[in-house]
């Protein structure tokens, strides 16, 4: 697939950057004329991925979050959110709905939400060296069916 555009973004793993990262991802895909719904899907999935880095990978301690977003010729967007944090022992378990290691205020639905708002979600993790989450979504856009 032909790459149309690419974004690389490195931010500190601070909760204030959750909002920045989802807005940056939304702004980056604007050239595809996404519908409001598609835009919200991407924002929500990115927000979950970045929150996981802050809360789980780095446990609210300093670290970096590396985002790489690519737009392909067919309108597919791939957004990779990578950290160098603690990693996940059991990815399948972490992806189970309602599973959380963080107590009452976390719902344990981050991965479920990411899966539900993307076309494909890939999670690669190695305990001690970090996690990479890749969100893939085809943006049909506002003019879909009208062209």
């Amino acid at each position: 697939m032909e790459k149309i555009n690419e974004l690389r973004l490195t931010v500190d793993a601070r909760s204030i950057n959750e909002g920045f990262c989802r807005v940056a991802a939304a702004a980056f895909i604007a050239e595809l004329d996404p519908t409001i719904e598609e835009l919200c899907d991407v924002k929500t999935a990115v927000s979950e991925a970045v929150t996981n880095c802050v809360v789980h990978a780095y446990r609210e301690k300093p670290g970096k979050i590396y985002i790489n977003a690519v737009i392909y010729g067919n309108g597919t967007v791939k957004i990779r959110v990578k950290d160098a944090g603690c990693g996940i022992e059991d990815v399948e378990k972490a992806k189970e709905p309602l599973f959380t290691t963080m107590g009452d205020e976390r719902s344990g639905l981050g991965f479920s939400v990411m899966e539900s708002f993307s076309d494909k979600l890939t999670v690669r993790s190695k305990p001690g060296s970090g996690t990479t989450v890749t969100i893939e979504k085809r943006i049909l856009g506002m003019n879909y069916g009208r062209r």
Binding site: T44, S47, R106, S107, L109, G110, S112
Partner: protein
């Protein structure tokens, strides 16, 4: 503060606004919990009508407030949910504990 708390007879209505994520949730939590613990109402209503964005942190926020409210003997209700926010809430099965009303 992106929440305003109104006291109405035996109930508390918390009107949330702006974006709800892991960054904004703690301030909302503290504000609502302190109002509930102080007033000990019969009912807590969380009004999502002015919420422009919410991720799964919104579920944790509602679940946690349900627990605070129930420990004070209060029922919890969520109103004015966008279809999107309602879809996220329902992923958790929250509707079994808390009445969810859409816009």
């Amino acid at each position: 503060m992106p929440v305003s708390v109104k006291f109405d007879k035996d109930s508390i209505i918390a009107v949330l606004s702006g974006e709800i994520d892991h960054h904004s949730a703690p301030a909302l939590r503290e504000c609502i919990d302190s109002a509930v613990e102080r007033a000990r109402p019969g009912k807590l209503t969380l009004d999502f009508g002015q919420v422009s964005f919410m991720d799964s942190s919104g579920i944790g926020l509602v679940m946690g407030r349900y627990k605070t409210a129930i420990s004070c003997g209060a029922q919890t209700e969520v109103t004015n949910l966008s279809s999107r926010a309602e879809k996220i809430m329902r992923m958790s099965g929250l509707e079994k504990l808390v009445k969810l009303n859409s816009m």
